[in-house]
């Protein structure tokens, strides 16, 4: 029998029934729910007179519309409070666990899923959010779903899917100092484009991936959707097991041992076949930064601005041919489900320590979860940021998706550790440059886009 991939092994274990024509009914092990897409789903099953089938397999958190203003404990506006209240009340009725604002466990769903040990290797995990691919970092088969699918999962604990094709990407060699997880995945998106992974489940492999922390792997998998792939995953290994052991929702005792034995069977077999393969030479990469309005519009920070997308350059207020370094910035945002975990905040703080943000720059740090905020404060990271003139805020999605009123002003330029530089994403006419936490921190200090390797 031909070898099987990590993806195949997990997929095959979850098929409830063949529906014909390549479609399959799949059992969902883990359903993560946030207030914005979740409350619509809750109201819809109630309207249909249905009940949540497996509340014990779901966890909810508040992230999209919560205010991240320091000391805040709710939404920024009455409509946001209404969504939060609906989610809370409907969640209570259904019996599902919701980590509420101000509780250990609240935060961006794609941060708290792993943090709580709710995300596990070998699970099929869905969430009403496209960045659900993040959970593939722990060897979970995970993808984002729409509202109608969310209702389907609430009511039946299953989802109908067509099996995608398989792609492997090898990240070869060891990246140089200053080149981190965000740079690896941005470089891949730059190479094969935002549609390069369309129709594929992607497995990230090889030396540079093995060398990443669990959190770094989450950054890589998070941007799978920006590669056009709903699913991006990394085979579990000792890094994964060490990360998960002892977490609140992770199995313990005999269950841990049983799970571990199963997880060790999951990595792709040596003779497993992929439909497509790509490779990135990591040793030659510079820190990456985007210049346009799609994540594929990316170059090394030592590069010059390309000329092939004039509309994007006009929107971004940039001139082709000039070096990207030296471009003046107005805002810096360190946060989002891409880069708001403790190692991200440490990397930014290391750059910031003993320095001051440029006077014209407004810089924010938004931890990904309540727990990360406490842990960072225990290390004194908040003092490092505050001393440099950065604002230290409450956990949430904040300025990545700008659903809660956290905006970049029109025509302002923001170096952001988030995942999308789309037109208007961070606010109407806002200009976004995606980069790593250390690159964003360096831009805040220099007041312009700068190569963090020179810091």
């Amino acid at each position: 029998m031909a070898g099987r991939t990590l993806f195949d092994k997990i997929w095959d274990l979850h098929v409830v029934d063949e529906l014909g024509d390549g479609m399959q009914l799949m059992f969902v092990d883990r359903h993560l729910i946030h207030e914005l897409s979740g409350h619509r789903g809750q109201l819809e099953i109630a309207r249909r007179g249905l009940k949540m089938r497996n509340p014990e397999l779901a966890v909810g958190s508040m992230d999209h519309v919560v205010s991240t203003a320091p000391g805040s404990r709710g939404g920024n506006a009455p409509w946001a409070d209404k969504i939060i209240e609906t989610f809370r009340a409907e969640g209570k009725k259904s019996g599902m666990k919701i980590y509420d604002i101000g509780q250990d466990g609240q935060g961006i769903v794609h941060v708290v899923g792993p943090e709580l040990g709710f995300t596990l290797p070998g699970t099929l995990l869905v969430c009403g959010d496209s960045h659900t691919c993040t959970h593939g970092a722990l060897g979970s088969l995970a993808w984002g779903i729409g509202t109608t699918e969310l209702v389907h999962v609430l009511a039946t604990q299953t989802i109908v899917q067509q099996k995608p094709k398989k792609m492997r990407v090898d990240f070869r060699g060891a990246p140089a100092r200053g080149v981190v997880a965000k740079d690896l995945i941005l470089a891949l998106i730059g190479k094969i484009g935002t549609a390069g992974g369309m129709g594929y489940a992607v497995e990230y492999a090889d030396e540079a991936i093995r060398g990443l922390s669990a959190e770094g792997r989450m950054t890589v998998c998070n941007l799978s959707i920006e590669l056009g792939a709903k699913v991006g995953m990394i085979a579990p290994d000792q890094t994964t097991y060490d990360y998960l052991k002892g977490r609140r929702h992770a199995p313990a005792g005999a269950h841990w041992e049983q799970a571990l034995a199963h997880w060790k069977t999951l990595p792709s077999d040596a003779d497993a076949k992929f439909d497509t393969e790509h490779a990135i030479d990591c040793a030659s990469l510079a820190p990456q930064i985007t210049w346009g309005t799609s994540p594929e519009d990316v170059i090394g920070v030592d590069g010059r601005i390309p000329d092939h997308k004039p509309d994007a350059l006009a929107y971004m207020g940039l001139a082709a041919g000039k070096p990207i370094a030296g471009t003046k910035v107005d805002r810096v945002f360190i946060g989002s489900c891409t880069n708001s975990r403790l190692p991200d905040l440490r990397a930014a703080a290391e750059v910031v320590k003993g320095r001051k943000a440029a006077k014209h720059v407004q810089a924010w740090v938004v931890p990904g979860s309540w727990r990360i905020k406490q842990d960072a404060e225990a290390e004194g990271l908040h003092e490092v940021f505050r001393a440099a003139g950065f604002e230290w805020r409450e956990a949430g999605c904040s300025m990545c998706v700008a659903a809660n009123g956290d905006y970049v002003a029109p025509l302002e330029r923001c170096v952001s550790t988030s995942n999308r530089n789309f037109v208007g994403r961070q606010g109407p006419r806002a200009r976004t440059h995606l980069a790593s936490p250390a690159m964003a921190a360096a831009a805040a200090i220099a007041g312009e886009i700068v190569d963090v390797r020179g810091f």
Binding site: A155, T194, G228, K230
Partner: protein, 197 residues
């Protein structure tokens, strides 16, 4: 769900590539705007001038494309976020069919959940249809025959085609499979006990 069988309607050219769901419907409209009102906010960043009046340069504001129910799109239409409001907003402005070389994958799935037919064709064939749309031609889309304008064939999964033709709701079908789901779950509890708290 409203069945989709045949559609005869004006097709508007929308050649922009990588149209993301943030561009189709801004996130502020996904927070509290009732579903039936989303259509008036579709493409708002391109559709309206700063004073809120319609931008005459935006294709769907042009008199010849009033009432268009088909968009002929550039590659990778609907990339980005999973927000189903993007589909609701398009449906809300009367769009019932999209034709493109490729679609964002979550968006593509969301279209079928709402009776909005997304047709994938090779770029050269989309280009030819784009020219016809630019010429203001009315298109005939026949899902039963899988043909556009009687000539251009298109592929679609047989299951999805049937569900669109009959206006079937996925949830209703799956609820009827509860015995199979329960049997799977019981066996899985024995196989992977650590999954179940």
């Amino acid at each position: 769900m409203e069945p989709f069988k045949k559609l005869s309607a004006i097709a508007a050219p929308f050649p922009q590539k990588n149209v993301d769901t943030d561009f189709i419907i801004r996130v502020e409209r996904c927070t509290g705007t009732p579903r039936e009102q989303l259509g008036s906010h579709a493409f708002e960043m391109a559709r309206f001038l700063k004073d809120g009046s319609p931008d005459p340069d935006f294709v769907l504001n042009q008199p010849r494309y009033r009432g268009a129910q088909i968009l002929v799109c550039g590659e990778f239409f609907g990339t980005g976020s999973s927000r189903e409001m993007a589909v609701w907003a398009l449906a809300g402005m009367g769009i019932r069919c999209l034709i493109a070389p490729s679609f964002g994958q979550i968006f593509y799935g969301n279209c079928f959940q709402n009776g909005l037919l997304p047709i994938v064709l090779p770029s050269t064939q989309v280009d030819a249809l784009m020219k016809q749309a630019e010429a203001g031609k009315t298109f005939d889309v026949d899902l039963e025959a899988q043909r556009i304008n009687g000539a251009q064939p298109f592929e679609i999964s047989a299951r999805r085609r049937k569900m669109m033709l009959q206006g079937l709701d996925e949830l209703g079908l799956t609820l009827a499979m509860e015995p199979e789901i329960a049997a799977f779950e019981a066996a899985d509890r024995a196989r992977r006990p650590w999954i179940y708290p």
